[in-house]
Subunit: 413 residues, 2 copies
């Protein structure tokens, strides 16, 4: 397969897509949703091929890969929800009139061509296509080898639907090659691709960051903290801590570390540790800080404080005050989601200002960092970078802005 | 000099700077402006050393390098203007209340550490430092070898002023090493630097893009077009064309190509070509399109249409209609500044929507793409990329946003 040629076609298709009305884009999404229902049997058959090819992969992988009627219905519902969201393209985000009469408008417009490189979950194929099209971008899909037959089937159904609805098929393209060489080639197409979004493990992400000549919007993992400040309400602290750690420990917005002010350590830690232990959490910490409470824990290493466990494990560190908590978070954190539990408005403000993260929580669980929870409707991933987009990537984050300047013959003196 | 150690210090300094009030930042800027005046003789003496070291450089380079009292006054005035601009940090750019009562705010905050790598002009040292500090960022300065003594002197005066005003000296740092090796080392400090902004020629920019592991905000050159649509007013077209090409041909927002609708070519081209020739412009074009007018021109090559001349040279191409003009601009342009001259609102809208550029002009000269002209007060450069910032980089473009989420104990179900 000729990667460059696919990318060139995507770029050409993006030119017309950029000027589509919301109604036209919604017509495409509607055709895509209908086609997924009509093509369900074909997709499930191809998914079986992938499932049969599985060997030596774990249960989690198999669960992510497996499609069924209910999961296809979820994909369809996702597309319909995206269709119902407001079109970000054309929004005027700023306007001014200059002394010489020039009218400056800053207008939201599509990025152009978005390439998404993802692993496992075949539903990303449909989600990413729908988000890109609604935001006026052509999409290039590159899935992992384990789901190649499922992804190809979904792609075929969707792009046939686009063409049958009378639109240019190449607004959705698919790299039908699972070799890493094809990925490497894709990463050099800066002439045609405007942004690369990786969704997958650290290995994939690092390969992309090291090899791409195209801007990448990526997420670091989430080494998230819950900081119990000395004025925190105990019950609220316990509830938020247990939720942030235990509700779904495998995800990036789950908490990994508890920081607590020395002033309340003796009062709060026995209860907090017990609540964690009762929920199956293994605690790590410093013997000189925790041994006195007589509850089980293992000694923490410096490495532990840097670790995103993805598991029912939490490390604990006693800190002097809010300033030390902030310093630790900025040192060990990954700029994802960080929470303070406090009754002191000044401490909350200091924390919100100084903690360097995509999402800073005051008296709430870190688990809310998510496109749907934030009201963006859906997300293309979560960015922990600072440029362009921070936090969940919704439709708006898949756009850029241009200046449109209208005059009546103005020239520069 | 230890580049890593300088970068680490800048990162640490950025942490406190992020929480400074507008008044504190303005106090720093005011101290910097005063210090430049007091340190004027020292700076001019060091500038003479650079001027004496000049050998074999051209007049343009010498003019850029030379400082005098009036140019130092301009630097001071620039800093005072930046102090007078509104502080972008803390601006709430979006707010919503979720069904569970969580209050989401999107709050503007500094990027952290900005490194600027620049050539020649020593005034960039002061401009960049002032823009970064006002937007709450620590700045790392890396100038070119030809201006090393001037840059070092300005840096010393400014950082002494910061320290004497009672603030952390390291909010301004300076890489006192003009070897390319030092630049290469700087480009790998992704742990400490949040963004790199190159200001200089294509060679510098490409070296940075190829070697940086830090996000780069860069400007392509400006291969800008003026498109005279068939409903254009002739006088306006001539005035804008001559301004866009001739007012300052060496800069990136000057026009390089004239596109004109075939319908009005015979009526308009003789006059437009004569106006250009009268202003000293050499015309390039296709003999089958231009020879009939009996005016001097040289045949254009495919390469010409891709060229930013930086000179009194302009190529001309006759097009079928607005669609062909847009296609050519998207093919040959560099996404900088593009203009249409038209009386047809539909053509203007189509052009504004479909042309892929940082600034699209309707009936005005391309020469306005500039931070000061756009009312941003000053600029750190002009971005032709699509991610993060497009067009002139002012204070707002030197910030990012974070979500600050306030609850009263909310946890995820």
């Amino acid at each position: 397969m000729n990667v460059t040629s696919v990318c060139r076609q995507a770029k050409l298709a993006s030119r017309s897509l950029a000027a589509f009305s919301a109604a036209e884009k919604n017509a495409i999404l509607s055709a895509m949703a209908d086609a997924l229902k009509a093509g369900q049997d074909y997709i499930l058959t191809e998914n079986k091929v992938d499932l049969n090819n599985l060997s030596g992969k774990d249960k989690v992988f198999e669960d992510r890969l497996r499609l069924n009627e209910s999961r296809i219905d979820q994909m369809i519902e996702g597309i319909r929800q995206i269709a119902a969201l407001e079109d970000p393209v054309g929004e005027v985000t700023g306007e001014s009139v200059r002394p010489n009469g020039l009218v400056l408008k800053k207008v939201r417009c599509p990025l152009g061509v978005v390439a998404i490189i993802y692993e496992a979950r075949p539903n990303v194929t449909a989600d990413a296509a729908a988000l890109c099209i609604k935001s006026g971008n052509a999409v290039i899909l590159k899935g992992g080898s384990g789901a190649i037959n499922s992804n190809r089937a979904i792609y075929k159904v969707l792009s046939d639907a686009v063409a049958e609805a009378g639109f240019q098929r190449e607004i959705i393209t698919f790299i039908d090659d699972t070799e890493r060489k094809a990925t490497a080639e894709l990463l050099k197409q800066d002439k045609y691709i405007d942004v690369i979004i990786p969704r997958g493990g650290e290995g994939l992400k690092n390969f992309i960051l090291e090899n791409s000549t195209i801007p990448v919007i990526a997420s670091a993992g989430g080494n998230c903290h819950v900081y119990v400040e000395k004025t925190a309400d105990y019950d609220m602290a316990e509830k938020i801590l247990v939720n942030a750690k235990c509700q779904r420990p495998s995800v990036c917005n789950a908490a990994e570390s508890l920081l607590i002010d020395a002033d309340v350590a003796d009062r709060y830690l026995p209860g907090l540790m017990k609540a964690l232990i009762d929920n199956g959490v293994t605690i790590k910490g410093m013997p000189e800080e925790l041994a006195k409470y007589g509850l089980p824990f293992t000694p923490a290493t410096e490495e532990d404080y840097h670790t995103e466990y993805h598991d029912l494990i939490m490390d604990i560190k006693v800190v002097k005050d809010c300033g030390e908590a902030i310093d630790r978070i900025n040192r060990y954190g990954t700029c994802h989601s960080e929470a303070i539990i406090t009754s002191d408005a000044a401490a909350a403000e200091q924390f919100a200002k100084k903690v360097d993260a995509a999402a800073v929580y005051v008296n709430a669980s870190t688990r809310f960092t998510d496109g749907f929870e934030f009201g963006l409707g859906a997300e293309m991933g979560i960015s922990t970078g600072k440029l362009h987009a921070r936090g969940p990537l919704g439709l708006k984050e898949l756009t850029t802005e241009k200046y449109v300047i209208t005059g009546n013959g103005q020239v520069r003196k």
